[in-house]
Symmetry: C2
Amino acid sequence: MMRKKRQVTIVDLAAAAGVSIATVSNVLNRRNVPMSQETIRKVEQAAEELGYRRNVMAANLSRQKSYELGMLVPSFGGYHGRFAEEMQRTAHTYGYHLSVFSAAGFDPEIEKRHLDVLLQRRVDGLISHGLAMSQEATRHLVGEGTPLVLFNAWGWPTDFAEGAVNLDFVVGCEEAVRCLYERGCRRIMYLGNSALYATDQQRRIGFNNGLSKLEEPLLTGIFDTHLYPSMEQTVDDVEALVSESHVGGPVGVLGFDDFITMSFMSALLRRGRKVPGDYCVIGINNDPVSLLGHPTLSTLDIPYTLQAELTMLLMLKALGDTTHLNRFPAEYEAKLARDGYEVQIPLKLIARASTGT
Amino acid sequence: MMRKKRQVTIVDLAAAAGVSIATVSNVLNRRNVPMSQETIRKVEQAAEELGYRRNVMAANLSRQKSYELGMLVPSFGGYHGRFAEEMQRTAHTYGYHLSVFSAAGFDPEIEKRHLDVLLQRRVDGLISHGLAMSQEATRHLVGEGTPLVLFNAWGWPTDFAEGAVNLDFVVGCEEAVRCLYERGCRRIMYLGNSALYATDQQRRIGFNNGLSKLEEPLLTGIFDTHLYPSMEQTVDDVEALVSESHVGGPVGVLGFDDFITMSFMSALLRRGRKVPGDYCVIGINNDPVSLLGHPTLSTLDIPYTLQAELTMLLMLKALGDTTHLNRFPAEYEAKLARDGYEVQIPLKLIARASTGT
DNA sequence: ATGAAAGCGCTAACAA
DNA sequence: TTGTTAGCGCTTTCAT
């Protein structure tokens, strides 16, 4: 077979340094065994001179552990890209390397393929959103042996994942509703997105919970933006509903995310409505876009670091990796104990111009 | 040593099917050697029943080839995330799997780390933007043997990369300037971003080229948004400059990207300026945000697929992988031959409301 | 059409 | 303090 230019191996280093390969291995891995300074120097020098580079495939194969983690996201855009970035950073902090793959939307086939490759690569653990592929397929594919930690997965079976680290959209949306109410809104709408079912459901639950806690009766409505051909038409319907009531004050709107909300707000402005004034609107995600518009958008902020740390904590526990466990704040442990299988990450409302003062 | 539950290997399959491991390997890899249907059936059945999953580390180690590619991006946001996604898809089309890592901004340390891990993993090839780390360091790190294909890297040495697939911001910006001129703008500004030096430079070159091709004299200016504490102040300075001239017509503005441009436009609207009317503005990237505002933003569209295909073509050539080469349109080959080391990807101007009609 | 056996580069138990 | 050696799971050459 045609091989590429032979790589430099520990055998070469051993020869160059005049020691055995075991010693080379020990030096290179800074293992906790006694060895003379002289040997260390010789080996390191040889490595430097020969331009040695460890072959992790061989190492992984041998020690049955890869220190590689795999992550699946539906896309690199918005929240998921940002979270993936944070996870890569966090994983590194704890000695792991994280590869991220995008499922290009929510394509189950692509998900399956990435999962399979990851498993074939013998990653130590998997991190994934509530997958698009069936839970049956997931169970079958992942099987035993490779721990799976979920994020933003609600109501997933507790038997094949270590747990789920979820953004608490329920409480977040409750607060958003409360905020709108306090700004004088007595007509409050939610702009949903049934295309992203699970996460939309959470928001709806929070929205309804929030409404049910208010004193005065309200005019409320839920609009599924996914079913509208354009945002203009959504606004049409919202305004039609609003005009039915004779209550005063601004109309409150909570949107599925900052994109949808910004888009809705633009449509509003385009037809001369005032925000705030005629409308108060709140988005979700604190995406950079929320700062771009005029007015700036009130939104729910996501504590990426917290979510990433807790996800990693769960993973390390599943991996039985006790080395770094003490580096987590004690409160994280407590939170884990309190929340159980589904860990909740609280969202913080950031009030900006779109909700007035 | 404490091993995890022993994996199912081809040895197990061989035993179960009553054949040798060589045969199992042949069957599983659908190699082009004669074998009886019966054997194939037996092996596949055994694999199915025992839940066999290939260990690619062992396979890669043995055949000295991984079919893995590594990619480095400065972040998962905006253009880079979108392009990374497209590259993953494209790589798969040609039988490769692509891992993407974010350098968290342009941190050279993180870049270095990711590169090193990728190299240790013996990926077949590397794909990277014009790195933040020094070219010296890059040369040293990558060394021989692993092909490197760059994207959006201008003026990089031709000796250690296979080539660079670059977005043609020069021509794109020329066209943008032309467009503004045709809309009646006789005062044309560029909003730069020196934080992203190389790509900003390309835009400036195009901007100046565009200006130099116009007939009438103009009032022009370049503002580096990176140096301003807020977009409000940038607008202040722009308006100050503009007020110096007594020329009529709208003011034309080309922004570094859609984010900066949207932000600028918002600031404009906030102080009562009309877009279009008082100002015509154009962004770059055709980011989803460009559709969110009011008015919608004219922008330069990026042909992700083309850029990804050409990047992959370059990579496959470097890998000496001739299997799929014929799947590329002949014009791609021609383009490669024409452009040489730095391949240019043309950008298309999308005229929307922000430049009027 | 199938199998035996020599690696691939590294780790780790054990011996010296 | 250092070395020997048996794997890790798979590919591939060369016999049979």
